[in-house]
Amino acid sequence: MLKSAGPRTTAVRLWRAMALLLLLLLAAAFVALWAGGRTLDFAALRSDPFARTLFFRLRLPRVFMAALIGASLAVAGAALQALFRNPLAEPATLGVSGGGAVGASIAIALGWGSQISGVPLVFVAGFCGAMVAVLLVHRIARSGALLLPGALLLAGVVVNLIASAAVLAIQYTTDSSRALEILRWIIGSLEVIGFGTVWRMLVVLAPCWIALLAFSRELHLLAMGEDTAGALGVHVERTETVVHVLCSVLVGVTVAVGGAIGFVGLIVPHAVRMLFGEDLRIVLPGSLLAGAAFLIAADVVARTAFAPVELPVGSVTALIGGPFFLWLLHRRQRYSAL
């Protein structure tokens, strides 16, 4: 079995996982670039200027966008699960996505169309909303020096419910075109033209990925308990704060740009765990690659399943992720403290 802690060293298991997942990512990217309303092959790219424009201005940036968002959500999910020692933790269940939706909805309802150095105000508002939700949930779940994982999950769910109600109220009171715009934003989309947004996101996201991976040892130890990690030399509170901030930025940015794409942060880390074992030093980088591959693949399904009608990618991930979440709850004997 792949996940046994047998004689293979952790380093060998890490490199094997990376090689396999990189292949998976490349395969997903290849299919995504080829498939769509119009399939593209090399001959078409060489001879047809329209095909080239389609490829470089729409399809390639979209694959990059899916990869960035998928990787960020999955790695943040893996880190949050370890940080809170809760296999059901993920960006959406922690209230981050709900907060982002409220922020963006307010911006859309008030008609904030301007940009701050190339970044639309709606993105900025979405990001700020996500941060407020994170702080709120974290504050509620922390009692003295202890972070209570059960309280955290409940607080996250309740913050999400409040956020949904707030978004509904905003939609109801604003005019119909803006209400529709809010709905489109909430559903989430990977539509992008050109590489401008992709590069801007990468500048913020990539340093967060690297910083988070640098904390994989601390997260591996924290997954075994706060006291155990502390006794093994981890600065628990500092690690919790830094990881929480990094995850919040990752999720805040992806929610602001791509909308609330649920369940990627939940199912991808679990799939990586099932394949390659529980070691966070493998699960974190593994989730980064697998998350990118998963969202690229989900976007291919969204674009092609009912072509020419395009499904929102968030509904595809939720249709796969929702049943997976329930299955995970059903076999919770695998996890002892749910």
Binding site: T9, G230, E278, S336
Partner: protein
């Protein structure tokens, strides 16, 4: 007899709460087994968490080998002091070997994984607590007692000079309780291990332990050899129970409450 890990007039209170530890001065003697006893909620676990560096005293000081604990970098402290918490509820199905290998992390540089030697040490630690056969099992499938042994093995893999145990025998059956105490005594005799053990198993203390500290309401009420502390008068005071009776039989102290 020198002390390795020492509390000097240590005080502790949670923010906004009443004092839990009220100016305690005591030290775990080098190469000796010391027991920490007292009624529920008297501050034993808080005191041992202060010793482990997991809590910072709000007054006084904790010293390791004469140096203030707070001035020793965390990872260096983890190479010297290991702590086994009271209950370990592991959520994720890590294998036992993965858990025990984390005991080597204070010695492993960042971005490096444990090497073959670390694995050997981890397996040795598992053998010491008679749990080598569990190495490939997920910890979530183990019984409470088996998990306790795995926590102990993880602490031993740290190769500490000082071991802090918070009710290590709580989830263990009769046989494994005795085995745990034998293991501790063996490590003391063979490697000069210093240990401070919070325990409610009073009958296991005498004659194996060298020293006993008795706490009541966050203060030290009595200390000394087991036969000096485990008496009707001291235990009656510490547990606030006038019905406690003790009797020495065949070199051990038997304790019960009527």
């Amino acid at each position: 007899m020198t002390t390795l890990l020492e509390a000097q007039a240590a005080e502790f209170a949670y923010p906004g709460g009443p004092p839990v530890i009220c100016g305690i001065s005591l030290g775990a003697a080098r190469g000796k087994l010391s027991a920490l006893i007292g009624s529920n909620g008297c501050g034993k676990s808080t005191l041992i968490r202060l010793f482990a560096g997991l809590l910072a005293p709000t007054g006084g000081e904790i010293r390791f080998d004469g140096t203030p604990l707070r001035s020793i970098p965390r990872r260096q402290a983890a190479q010297r002091i290991a702590y086994v918490p009271q209950a370990t509820s592991l959520v994720f199905p890590f294998t036992v070997l993965e858990v025990v290998l984390t005991g080597r992390s204070p010695y492993t540089p960042r971005f490096r994984f444990e090497d073959g030697r670390d694995r050997e040490r981890a397996m040795e630690a598992l053998s010491t607590v008679d749990a080598a056969h569990l190495a490939a099992r997920p910890v979530t499938e183990l019984s409470g007692g088996e998990r306790q042994m795995v926590s102990m093995a993880r602490a031993l893999a740290q190769e500490p000079q000082c071991l802090l145990l918070d009710e290590p025998s709580a989830a263990l059956d009769l046989k494994h309780r005795a085995a745990l105490i034998r293991t501790l005594a063996g490590l003391r005799d063979s490697r000069g291990l210093t240990a401070l053990v919070v325990t409610h198993d009073l009958h296991l203390i005498d004659p194996v332990f060298d020293h006993v500290f008795a706490l009541r309401a966050g203060a030290l009420r009595a200390q000394g050899r087991p036969d000096e502390v485990l008496t009707d008068a001291v235990l009656g005071d510490v547990y606030d129970d006038p019905h406690v009776r003790t009797r020495r039989v065949e070199g051990r102290t038997l304790i019960w409450s009527n």
